[in-house]
Amino acid sequence: MTAPAARIHVAHTSAPAPHHYTTLGLDSRKVAIWAFIGSECMLFVSLISTYLIYKGRSVVGPFPHETWTDPTTGHVLKPILNIPVTSASTFVLLMSSLFMVLALAAVQNKEKPKHSRGDRILGNSKLWLWMTAIAGTTFLGFQAFEFTSFVHEGLTIRTNLFGSSFFTLTGFHGAHVTAGVLWLVTLLAIDYRRGLGSRDSLLVDIAALYWHFVDVIWIVIFTLVYLIK
């Protein structure tokens, strides 16, 4: 499919140029991911603003923090948010960030000598990538549980303004986590295929930045959506 344009390498490079010249000596991919994260701030702020704007404006329940009695049927609906469960999932996501930094450190230090068993565990990139991916998946599991129980309790994306803005906001976050898990799995596949070494640390670093950012967004959502009444 591809037609190689030119296969001849640089003839007399005076300095050992590892890759193309870059102005700041930074890898372009890392610059791009930070720009992307900046852009994502606006994305999530739009979602969060909408949630907050519509907060307290729903005409019918269920509501996040208040009980609601359906005037037509007389059903009493409890506040729908389940703080204990979400606290647990929040904790899991926080831990995944720890695993992620450990995965990155492991990849960065791949070639460094390992002296103790602790060093070897900390230096096991596969382990930490797995842990991160599992934590992410667990978080998604919690979310799936949350969504289904909400639907059972009578809150769907169509029920009221709260339902629409809540599911869209947390759903977008969940989609980001899902993409992150896929990314991690891809890294794992590479790790199994050829091993990730310190020369790949950038690959992991970028994934990690994305992962942490998704975590950071959850920190905000947890407070604004779940805790503040």
Partner: protein, 120 residues
Amino acid sequence: MDTHATNLPDSAEADAHAPGEVEHAHPTWSTYWKVALILTLITVAEVWLYYIPSFVAGRGFIPTLLVLSALKFTIVVMFYMHLKYDHRLFRVLFTGPLMIASLTLLALMFLFGHLYIKIM
């Protein structure tokens, strides 16, 4: 011939960066777990506060939660996303948009009457 011209420092912003990743003073395992601990503690504190009805009813509840969450936010960004140690360009690329995003959020809250200023 030299296609990758010699790396003249870019006087304005390339301080001391040679091409390729520069090893900064990276945080280590001990930083990482401490950070995780702090994050966990803050989260516990947040949820705990949520369950104190008198505090929730008070005026300090929302500000406290906002501050705590901002604190967590900052810690993750600074340490896990190693913004504290990284090139300052990244700080600009992140804080700039974050500022605009926060101001937009604030403005929207005013516009939809969730926050208001009293005049007259």
